[in-house]
């Protein structure tokens, strides 16, 4: 019953979405309001249907309905309750339904927020959103149906991949997808602007908050993904330049560029063409990312199943890219800049350079990701490029971007005078240089680490200097210290939200630098009672224990860690044996610290518990990455607050 019900609902939803898209587009062309209202109703209907379908799927998981192939493939009778819910989006078909639901939700919000304040653009926006939604619903009815019946009905399911049975896997897809789908809205507005010819700044002002929200969720999704990789996968790293990771990183890079270049358009009415191009590129990259992970075109550690779904995505991606770029070419003349770049030493120039670097990084990641395809097409040999390639090319770009983070917000528009430069940057440059000397004195020998950290200090100084000056100015007007500080944040929340986001990025950068420069690891086989020494810590192997643990069998080791002065703690790296998996899954145990993360992975072990092979890592500064994410969150929250019109 459930398979047919769900499947039918999705077909109806798809037809409604197609109808709604056509009706909205027709309304845009003819001006007939009735069509638009009909399209709106269709959108509401689609949201209701997709919500119902999603709930139906969740219900099927909770009630162990193995008549559904998707349920049988992703859960067993012993899967815990909460993982049964998250298993809904644990594999291909379910991830598409989650994506579709978020798109439908965003469409609903767009309707509620914009049906009155963007009358000329709104019909096209609705048409585009419903069109994209229709595609994803199509995918769920043909190549990747979540409601496919399985006959004969098995007695038990196969189970959820144990690597996915983790808290990170509950939140990571949700955050990531909210980010991906969120970029559909600015894209829809851009298409609406092109279609109507109203390519001035209104579409940008309308979508500013959408862009920040989408960008934020994408950032969050990437960070959670890194966190999941770090504490589950057992290699002690948080980023591997895997094609699937790159697929999410590319739209983040271009999305960041877009976030910045719109400010130039708002202020100087330049870069109109560039901005539309950027948002088209960002949206296309979100589709490309999905295409990459589901088509099997590029082999990856994460690779999902193959099938005709790749062809569907490829066709849609091509359609989107060619049509939107075609629209762009058509409206070329209307997109002429009204301002000019007066000087290389200006904020416009800094933002432009920021964009160039971000797009260059995105291109690099793209190139490295499709390189195996390229080399096979050109030379016939399978060649891949590994992490060294990405690091080598991207690190200089990222360093440049950090530097620009300090320069951009403070340098003057149009043409920065020497006075402006001196006033804003002299102290930060001095402080940054002093910091470099201090780091060297403290023993930092890696030139890259020293440079990155000094740049970080430079940027932090520019932010601090600006804030201090502004606070002082308010205080001179008679305000108290705290009201002055708070009032600044409230009155100029966009600016200070941006600063806070930059600070968050700086903290992340420090974390990445530290973890690369100063982390150490060691692998050793120890007998019970023996110890391994690393970075001043002593890890003593105290033995193994084994027991049944719900849906798996657990072999747990015990390591006592001490470093001389602080109290010792015990870590229990383990191996989990799941009945349906052919190999055990390592369960890393770790202790997080502000500077030192202790990280132990159990490798091989003797069956009688007398001996174990362990990989031990002391990772430095990794926690700063997660802390940076928190700062980023606060900054984004501040930035999207509604602006206060009256002076505080």
């Amino acid at each position: 019953m459930i398979p047919e019900l769900g499947y039918g609902a999705l077909i109806v939803g798809m037809l409604l979405a197609v109808y709604g898209a056509i009706a909205a587009a027709a309304s845009a062309r003819t001006g007939r309001v009735a069509l638009l209202e009909s399209a709106q109703h269709a959108a509401l209907g689609v949201f209701g249907i997709v919500t119902a379908a999603l709930l139906l799927l969740v219900y099927a998981f909770l009630t162990f309905d193995f008549s559904l192939r998707y349920v049988a493939s992703n859960t067993t009778l012993t899967t815990p309750f909460y993982y049964r819910i998250t298993a809904v989006w644990g594999a291909l078909e379910g991830s598409i339904i989650l994506w579709s639901w978020m798109l439908a939700l965003y469409t609903l919000i767009v309707i509620l927020r914009h049906r009155h304040n963007a009358r000329d653009l709104y019909p096209w926006v609705l048409a585009v959103m419903l069109g994209v939604l229709a595609f994803f619903l199509l995918v769920m009815t043909v190549p990747a149906p979540p409601f496919e019946r399985l006959t004969p009905i098995p007695a038990d399911g196969r189970g959820l991949n144990p690597l996915l049975q983790d808290s990170g896997m509950i939140t990571h897809p949700i955050a990531l997808y909210l980010g991906f789908t969120g970029f559909t809205v600015p894209f829809a507005f851009a298409i609406a602007a092109l279609a109507t010819g109203h390519v001035s700044d209104r579409w940008i002002t309308m979508t500013r908050r959408w862009t920040i929200i989408a960008w934020y969720f994408l950032s969050l999704g990437l960070l959670i993904g890194g966190w999941w990789s770090y504490h589950v996968l057992g290699w002690g790293g948080y980023w591997a330049w895997d094609p699937v990771e790159n697929a999410a990183f590319m739209p983040w890079l271009t999305g960041t560029a877009f976030l910045h270049s719109v400010m130039v358009q708002e202020r100087r009415r330049m870069l109109k063409l560039w901005n539309i191009g950027l948002v088209i590129m960002t949206f296309s990259l979100t589709l490309f990312g999905t295409f990459l992970t589901r088509s099997g075109v590029i082999a990856s550690v994460h690779a999902f199943t193959q099938g005709s779904i790749g062809a569907f995505f490829f066709t849609f991606l091509s359609l989107v890219v060619l049509c939107s770029l075609g629209l762009l070419a058509w409206r070329w003349d209307a997109l002429a800049a009204e301002g000019e770049l007066d000087s290389v030493v200006s904020r416009e120039s800094a933002f432009l350079l920021n964009n160039v670097m971000l797009v260059a990084a995105a291109f690099t990641v793209f190139f490295g990701t499709v390189f195996p395809l390229l080399s096979e097409a050109v030379r016939g040999t399978k060649v891949s490029v590994g992490a060294p390639f990405f690091n080598q090319v991207n690190v200089p770009l990222f360093l440049g971007l950090i530097f620009l983070m300090g320069v951009g917000p403070l340098i003057a528009w149009r043409r920065a005078s020497l006075e402006n430069l001196r006033r804003n940057f002299l102290w930060p440059v001095v402080i940054g240089s002093v910091a470099a000397a201090v780091f060297f004195a403290l023993g930092v020998r890696s030139a890259l680490a020293a440079l990155t950290l000094s740049l970080t200090v430079f940027v932090a100084s520019t932010i601090a200097l600006d804030y201090i000056r502004a606070t002082r100015a308010r205080r001179r007007m008679g305000e108290g210290l705290l009201p002055a500080m708070g009032g600044l944040l409230g009155r100029h929340n966009r600016r200070y939200g941006g600063f806070a986001i930059h600070l968050g990025i700086l903290v992340v950068a420090v974390g990445i630098t530290g973890s690369h420069a100063w982390s150490v690891q060691r692998e050793m086989t120890v007998k019970r009672g023996e110890s391994v020494e690393l970075a001043g810590y002593t890890f003593r192997f105290d033995g193994l224990a084994a027991r049944e643990n719900g849906n798996h069998f657990l072999v747990e080791s015990s390591f006592n860690v001490s470093n001389g002065h602080a109290t010792s703690r015990t870590l229990h790296p383990a191996k989990k044996f799941y009945p349906n998996e052919q190999s055990p899954i390592a369960h890393v145990d770790y202790h997080l610290g502000l500077i030192d993360d202790l990280y132990v992975v159990l490798g091989d072990f003797a069956r009688d518990g007398t001996q174990a092979t362990v990989k031990i890592q002391v990772n430095r500064m990794v926690s700063w990455i997660w802390i940076g994410g928190l700062v980023l969150t606060l900054g984004a929250a501040l930035a999207i607050l509604p602006e206060r019109k009256k002076p505080a």
Partner: protein, 175 residues
């Protein structure tokens, strides 16, 4: 920019899309096998039902050799009906479908065969020698062997109707 030049922008997307389209022809799951055009390794196994399975006995026929296992969810479960269906369709034209169950328990293998009502010969490969001889990485894998006993194609993952027919028709056409 003059009128025609602006269309360079959408045109610039074409080579990139072309490259991705090329990616479809290239299947990263095709682990290259040097067995193509080489003689298929001969073997003899005790089958689940019926006479012993002997590859040499089928010389002169097109043979579809499929490696599966009962614990192989969901791919082997997806392709079992496909194999049975196509076995029924092509047996009159002399095509032979052979199934080899690897690393499995006999009871589980039997249950799998009964569940899908497989009528083509299936045998258990208890020590895995046959799978080693064919360089089998995992299940399911299907080898298409021509009448002269040479391996002509290898399909990794669940075999589809289209893939089965394409390979078999090609080999039948050669005779």
């Amino acid at each position: 920019m003059r009128r025609p030049l602006r269309w360079l922008i959408p045109a610039a997307a074409l080579p990139v899309l072309g490259l991705l389209a090329y990616g479809f022809r290239v299947n990263p799951h095709d682990i290259p096998t040097p067995l193509i055009d080489r003689p298929a390794a001969l073997f003899a196994l005790a089958s689940y039902d019926g006479p012993p399975m002997n590859l040499e006995a089928h010389r002169g026929h097109v043979v579809v050799l499929n490696f599966w296992a009962s614990w192989c969810h969901p791919a082997c479960y997806e392709e079992a009906p496909v194999l049975e269906r196509n076995w029924q369709a092509y047996r009159d034209r002399g095509v032979v479908v052979l199934g080899v169950d690897i690393q499995d328990k006999p009871e589980a293998g039997r249950q799998f065969i009964n569940t899908f009502g497989l009528t083509f010969p299936n045998a258990l490969d208890p020590v895995g020698k046959v799978s080693v001889d064919y360089g089998v990485y995992g299940v399911p894998e299907t080898f298409f062997i021509d009448g002269k006993g040479r391996v002509r194609a290898k399909h990794v993952g669940a075999v589809t109707d289209a893939a089965f027919r394409r390979e078999v028709e090609q080999l039948l056409a050669e005779r």
